[in-house]
Structures are given as C-alpha cells and as structure tokens.
C-alpha cells in the first residue's frame, strides 16, 4: 500500500513508519485530502475512528492533524498525519467519512483549525460566544477565569 502511494505521490509521503507496532503516515498537506479519499475507496479504510489535532507552538507549522483509520476488511489501523500552520484551513473530509462532521467541529472548537467545505462548522462543546481555543498550548485558563470574574462578578481575581 505504502509503496503504491509513494510511487504515486513521491515525496508527498514524508514518513511511513511504525511505532510500537502502530503504522502511521506523515503526509504533505497538499495531498492529504486526496490520499484520505484513496485510503477509503481503494484500501478499504472505511471507518474513521478518530480525527484530532496536536498543537506545537514552537514549530512553524503549528498543528498536527491526525486521522486514525480502521479497515474492517483488513482488520488494520493506520494513522495519517499532516502538519498545517496556524490560520491555515484544511479541506473537509466529511464527504469521505460522515463521522468527521462532529470530529472536525470539535477540532475547530478546541484548536481553531478551520475546515473548508464543512457543512456546519461551529463550536460544539463550548458555548458559541467562547473566546480562544482551549486545547492550544498557549491558551491560559487563568486569564480566561479572571476575565470572566471581572466581567460577571466585578472583582479583580477569582483566586
């Protein structure tokens, strides 16, 4: 599978290894969407287990987007990763796996990564008026708290 993909995309496949017995692919963001489609259609990864992100503030491309895919037919899991920068958006995969709908919303909610073409991209767990993206490493819980008490209770600090 990997060789076939490598033949097709060449250096777009940046890494294809296994860690602790779990396979993962690191892809260039430009081809990721296509590869996801191929993985589902041709390689039978018909179940998107999870979609999430990891934030690395020091890096230039701050976000790792991680898809965890599973194939019922092959009984095999694979992780697909790609890196995008802050403010960049990524094409949605809702039309590949319907389950990505809420998962993408959650990533947007928590990291602020936008997905182009998502049918209903809005906050899912946090209230609509929430400011900031909590799972970013530079998100300060304390500031958030203080702002809330300053506005709602009129005191300096909630501590």
């Amino acid at each position: 599978m990997v060789t076939r993909l490598q033949r097709q995309y060449g250096s777009g496949i940046q890494e294809a290894k296994a860690y602790l017995g779990q396979n993962y692919l690191v892809l260039d963001p430009s081809i990721t969407r296509e590869v996801l489609q191929i993985l589902r259609d041709e390689e039978q990864f018909d179940y998107c287990v999870d979609l999430t992100a990891v934030h690395y503030p020091q890096r230039e491309k701050q976000f790792d987007l991680v898809w965890i895919l599973y194939s019922f037919a092959r009984n095999e899991r694979v992780r697909v990763k790609t890196m995008i920068a802050d403010g960049e958006s990524f094409p949605t995969s809702v039309d590949v796996w319907a389950t990505a709908n809420w998962l993408e919303r959650e990533v947007f909610d928590m990291f602020g990564v936008r997905f182009d073409g998502h049918p209903d991209l809005k906050r899912i767990l946090l209230p609509d008026g929430w400011r900031g993206y909590p799972l970013r490493k530079d998100y300060g819980i304390i500031q958030q708290d203080q702002e809330w008490v300053q506005i709602n209770l009129g005191i300096e600090s909630g501590e």
Binding site: V49, D50, R77, W97, T99, L125
Partner: protein
C-alpha cells in the same frame, strides 16, 4: 456505500414563530432538562405534527475539559480523571487509559492483574448494560425493569466497593497492573454473582422480550444499516445490531481476552429491538467470560515493574478497548516528560450520538426518546 452528505443534519432554525402552530412545522426544544435525555443533552426537534423532520443536538453542558486537564497532570495523576467520563463504566475507562500508557512505556501487566482486569471490566459491562436497560425501559414507559436492574446492579457495585472502596468512580487499576490484591472471598463473591445473575436476565427478558407493546415500540424503530454505521463511525452494540460481527475484544485483542471463549452476538435489522437483544446477549457472554476468568485466575504478582517517575519516550500511541458503549480509544502523545503532551479520548458516546439524526428522521417524537435510550449515551463521556 451511501452518499455521506445524506447524513448532514442541517436545520435551518429561524426565529421561532410566536404562534408556532401557524405553519405545519413546529420546533421543539427537548432538554437540557428533560427527563428522558439522560443528563444534559439538548435536542432541537423540527416536527411536522408528531413526525420528526430533523434534529440538532446541542451538547457540551457537561464539558469539563478533561483533555486539557491531562496536559497539566502526570500520567499517574490523570488516571482517576478518566473515571469521570463514562461514569457508569469507569472500570473500562481506566483499563483503556492504563493499557495505553503501559504500551507507551513498553511494559506489560502481569497475568494475574490481567485476569482481575478482565473480571472487573466485564462486571462493569454488565452494570453499564443494566443501567442502560433500566433507563431505556423507563423511557419507553415500562417502569418496573428499572428497579429490577438497579437491585441486581447493586451486587456488582458491592463487589467493586469491597475491592477498591468505591462504587462508581472506581479507579480500580494502576498503570502497570492493579494496586490492590483481591480481598478474601473475591472469587466466591464473583461466583455467587454468576449463579445469581443469569436467572435475573431471564426475568428482564420475561418482562420485555415477548411483551407485545415493547415489541411494537422497538421493532423497526431507529433503524440504521451496517453501511451507515461504518460511515458514521458508530461502534459497539449499535454496530453489532446492524449485523457487523466486530468487537475489539476479538478483532484486536487486548488484556488477555484472546484466552477466553465467547461469542459476539449480532443482530440483523439494526433496529431498537435488535440492539436490545444484542445487549442482553452481551450480558450473558460477559457472565461466560467472568466464569472462565475466575476459574483460571493464576497466582502471582499484580504489578509490573514500573518506574517511580514515569517518563515515556517521545512518541505517540493509540490504544482502544471495547467499552460497553463502543470503541473507547486513547491517543496519547508523549514529549518525554512526566506529563502527557496531549491526550485525546475517542469517546464512543460522542461518535454514536451523531447517528441520532438519521436514525430518527421520519419517525415520531416518541421514537426519539427510544432511540436516545438505545444509543446508550452517557453525557459525561459525550462532553468530557
């Protein structure tokens, strides 16, 4: 495979009309304080009379930022937090987390610990299914099963309490094994439960399975096909009721499930009745697994050699187990320090809840209640 865009729930909710009966469409807000939404789920229903045209779930009322908390705790300190997600199946949550970290540390729990884990996890599966059955039946209007299931669930909780002191949020396992040796008479208690419980399942079934009204309320309600399940990532009993014989305990065995002999019950139609039957069968299979485990439980240590300060090497891991509700996964990224860099929980309830919309479209309001019940969601896990 069906076109995924059919699943997109897209309610155009305008300003609700003050005289709502003016039009045929009626928008009703169910929850977050509604007796049948199992906590604080809020469902906005768009109705034509009693027929459901569409739904939109509003969740997050119970969001506690578990994933953020994890980044500020050490691996050991985070362990009790996972119990608070799916609070009716806390043992399963703990098992998944502990095993994920163990994998990351490259250690393995000793055999005896694995047996204890399996016994407790399967007991927890029964407890979770009992709670589901009671509340589901109550939603459909049968009051009595609730009390029967709670009576029998008590026996399981007693075992938990004797084992680790807690009934609900057990924190039963530690990274590398179990902290506590079983108490004296643990095996006897479990065996007594195994003798006591199967007749009780028959009792539940007697009340419901052949009850005409129950059958009419559940057969053909909230149907979902296997393809839809896969596309929506629905797992657990819901997927199996649609006819997919897939269970992580068999497909990608963890702990020592591969040593036990048990079957994966499946349904055919993927309706509420099949899901009910699948869960009832699962309870029986769980009894079978516990029976084998308690017979074969070996002597030996219960804790592997675990470093005092856990500093897993840089890397990431995804580990999932078959929780009572479906695939419960933990994706942990380590940066080599004592605290996880990122913990992502793949909650089965959250993903399964997405299927609510296609399951209830075109059905009646009463079916929404039945389907919410049959999805077996726990809002603590949906919102985390």
């Amino acid at each position: 495979m069906t076109d995924p865009t059919t699943y997109l729930s897209h309610l155009e909710l305008g300003e609700p009309d003050k005289t709502f009966l003016d039009s045929n469409e009626l928008i009703i807000n169910m929850g977050p304080q509604h007796p049948a939404t199992h906590g604080v789920l809020r469902v906005i229903l768009k109705l034509d009379g009693e027929k459901v045209l569409g739904t939109e779930c509003v969740i997050g009322y119970l969001h506690r930022g578990v994933e953020k908390i994890a980044e500020h705790r050490t691996y050991t300190m985070f362990n009790p937090y996972v119990d608070r997600m799916d609070y009716v199946a806390a043992v399963s949550n703990g098992l998944g987390y502990c095993q994920a970290v163990e994998k990351l540390l490259n250690i393995e729990a000793p055999a005896r610990a694995n047996y204890i884990r399996v016994i407790l996890t399967e007991l927890n599966r029964i407890a979770s299914h009992q709670l589901w059955l009671g509340t589901h039946a109550l939603d459909i209007g049968a009051m009595t099963p609730l009390f029967y299931t709670f009576r029998d669930r008590e026996e399981i909780l007693k075992i938990f309490e004797k084992y680790c002191g807690a009934r609900l949020t057990t924190h039963a396992f530690r990274i590398g094994g179990c902290q506590y040796e079983t108490y004296d008479g643990f095996e006897d208690d479990v065996k007594k439960f195994l003798d006591f419980f199967p007749p009780k399942i028959d009792e539940y079934e007697e009340l419901l399975t052949t009850n005409r009204i129950w059958v009419e309320r559940t057969v053909g309600v909230g149907k979902i096909s296997a393809d839809d399940c896969k596309a929506l990532g629905v797992t657990g009993p819901v997927l199996r009721a649609s006819g997919v014989r897939w269970d992580i305990r068999k497909a990608l065995p963890y702990a020592n499930y591969s040593e036990f002999d048990f079957e994966i019950p499946t349904g055919e139609n993927g309706d509420t009745f099949d899901r009910y039957m699948v869960r009832m069968q699962e309870m029986r299979q769980a009894v079978r697994i516990i029976g084998q485990a308690v017979e074969r439980i070996p002597e030996g240590p219960i804790m592997a050699k675990v470093p005092k300060v856990m500093k897993p090497p840089v890397g990431e891991i995804y580990h999932s187990i078959e929780a009572p509700k479906g695939e419960l996964g933990y994706f942990i990224v380590s940066d080599g320090s004592t605290q996880p860099y990122r913990v992502r929980v793949r909650p089965p309830s959250f993903v399964n809840l997405q299927a609510l919309d296609i399951m209830v479209r075109g059905q009646l309001v009463a079916d929404v209640i039945a389907v919410i019940g049959t999805l077996d969601i726990v809002l603590g896990e949906v919102d985390r």
